[in-house]
């Protein structure tokens, strides 16, 4: 019987602070815990007693990488209470700002956080010595995504222009047109990204997942649709809490979310892709096929290809929106506050993000609930880790640690959202 302990103090390249704990006894994996020790945050409590108009500004502060997601889920939930239906160019502008967020967030993850895993570098700075063009391409993609968010939202981090009912001010057509050339470059760069990442080596794992995402009848989802899965889930956004519940476990400040009927599930780009492949434009489908994917993928390591596919989609979609855009007469719709409960789910870069609000007739928030994508994926990350550890027990410690870290980064976890350093403890006895 061997007894060894491996301790990696910082698992880098994830957003937030957490730790991974794996215990191996007599060549068997006995325990896997993804510990999140991000200090507890109390956003749902802060929201109580605030005006409904403040929700998009306050919830944006949950995350500096995906503030648009928080703004979108909150405004849709609140508009449901007020009976507002945002349509036409205002709806399109919301998709456009979301495209910007997908491009910057996915660009960051694919190039700076995830690709070094496949190419054997500790970080993107090391990788840049051998792959300078790739790293430059990734940075420029991120920059273009940021510019798009800033153009519609006022700034790239915590945009100021999103409000319940629409925007404080809307761009003129001529404000958007200069983005076209940049987005065409980004579209080509995204296609190159898909080709590049598809040449990486992917460990042959294909776990059985339940993929959960929005699905909209006509379009690849951002803000609207029903919540569906590959195992028959098909519910209105309003029914989320009837089908899902959160558990509080002792070793983490992030709540675990489970599907009541079947347990752990998977949200994020791979879930969106698998549930909505038919809604991708033909050129994007063709790029996926060229990269060796079919309409369904369940190898979590290949999520890097799917994230790249989604960058490509976001570029195509932004170009379409800008081409068809006509400046609306009014930047926002208005309604008097009324008491009620509203629900919203939008597709954050990392997966479905649920918000629920109850407000009174003065528009003051009485209760708020937020279920972020990383806490929804937490249980699935743990089961992946278990499987990866079991399959690779024969590897030396450093390689086993590497592949376990990689298995976590497959999910692009945003730990500060879920409630900063990831520590890895691997204990062999």
């Amino acid at each position: 019987m061997s007894s060894k302990t491996i301790k990696v103090d910082y698992l880098a390249r994830v957003e937030g602070e957490g730790a991974l704990y794996i215990r191996i006894k007599d060549d068997r994996v006995t325990q896997v815990q993804l510990k999140i020790f991000e200090p507890p945050r109390f956003f749902e409590a802060f929201l109580q007693g605030r005006k409904y108009t403040e929700a998009p500004d306050i919830t944006a502060r949950i995350c500096g990488i995906c503030p648009v997601a928080y703004q979108m889920s909150s405004v849709h939930a609140l508009e449901q209470i007020l009976g507002l239906k945002v349509a036409g160019p205002l709806r399109e502008l919301r998709r456009l700002i979301y495209c910007g967020e997908w491009i910057e967030s996915h660009g960051l993850h694919v190039y700076m956080l995830h690709a070094p895993d496949f190419l054997g570098y500790a970080d993107a700075i090391q990788m840049a010595r051998d792959y300078p063009e790739a790293v430059k391409r990734g940075l420029k993609l991120k920059q273009i995504g940021n510019e798009l968010v800033a153009l519609v939202g006022g700034r790239e981090i915590h945009p100021i222009n999103v409000r319940v009912g629409g925007f404080y001010s809307v761009p003129r057509k001529k404000d958007l047109v200069p983005m076209v050339e940049k987005l065409k470059w980004a579209r080509d760069a995204a296609l190159e990204t898909v080709r590049w990442v598809s040449t990486f080596n992917f460990p042959p794992v294909e776990p059985e997942y339940e993929f959960v995402s929005l699905r909209h009848p006509q379009e690849y989802p951002f803000n609207e649709g029903r919540l569906v899965s590959n195992k028959g889930l098909d519910i209105a956004v309003d029914d989320f809490e009837a089908h899902f519940e959160e558990e509080h476990v002792p070793y983490t400040t992030a709540l675990h979310s489970i599907l009541k009927a079947r347990g752990a599930y998977y949200v994020g780009p791979m879930a969106r892709y698998n549930n909505n492949f038919d809604l991708l434009p033909p050129a994007v489908q063709a790029a996926a096929q060229e990269a060796g994917l079919t309409s369904f993928c369940c190898n979590p390591f290949q999520s890097i290809i799917i994230r790249s596919i989604e960058i490509l989609y976001a570029c195509e979609e932004s170009l379409r929106i800008i081409d068809q855009y006509e400046q609306p007469e009014r930047p926002y719709l208005e309604a008097e506050p009324r008491a009620g409960i509203g629900h919203g789910i939008s597709e954050a870069p990392r997966g479905s993000l649920y918000h629920r609000y109850r407000i009174d007739d003065q528009g003051v928030i009485q209760e708020a609930k937020i279920v972020p994508p990383t806490s929804q994926n937490q249980k699935t990350v743990e089961s992946d880790l278990y499987q990866v550890a079991v399959q690779n027990l024969h590897l030396p410690e450093d390689q086993l640690t590497w592949i376990c870290e990689q298995a976590i980064r497959n999910y692009d976890p945003c730990i500060s959202c879920s409630v900063h350093f990831l520590k890895l403890h691997l204990e062999r006895r």
Binding site: F37, P39, F42, D57, I160, N161, Y168, V249
Partner: protein, 208 residues
Amino acid sequence: MRGPYDLSLVEGSITTPHDMARIQKIRRASKFLVAIGACATAGGIQALRNFTQVEKYIPLVYARPEYIHTLEKSSPIAGQVAVDFELRGCPINKTQLLELVSAFLQGRRPNIHPYSVCWECKMRGNICVMVAHGIPCLGPVTHAGCGALCPTYHRGCYGCFGPKETPNPASLSARLRVLGVPEDDLVRLYRTFNAEAEPFRQESTVHE
């Protein structure tokens, strides 16, 4: 934690016993320590807990309060250790960050103005949203840095960069009352991402 470091940039506020111990180590290992962002300079949005009892918050979010370890208050870095400079904003301005690092490399004080958002509005040639449209705006008491973004987008400033030098929020509140802003909205207006910054904290309690 290795070190020593010439310059440490610290983001985030102090909310747990672990944070308190860690910031002492960072201070000891650093020649210069700069707090960046509203959390580090004013306790951030987490400091909303300072106006209530945190025990009331925990059960609203967590089913098992006994698993949660947190401090009663969220405090800025300067509340715990000596800080050499504070860079404001939620989020910070990247040009200001570059100026800060350049100034450090050249051994001079950063050229970052502590005047109000109103200055930036005038420099942009904006029409005043409060005077012309009666939109409540924190610009007169808020530290510059965003480039007067909100007024440029036809909304009032909501105070991301915290108080300017020598602000006069009492005078602003009097004006906001004339515009019809109710007392509880005044409390909310001063209590967002810089609620623990003294001039905002004090003014908010006046209207409670």
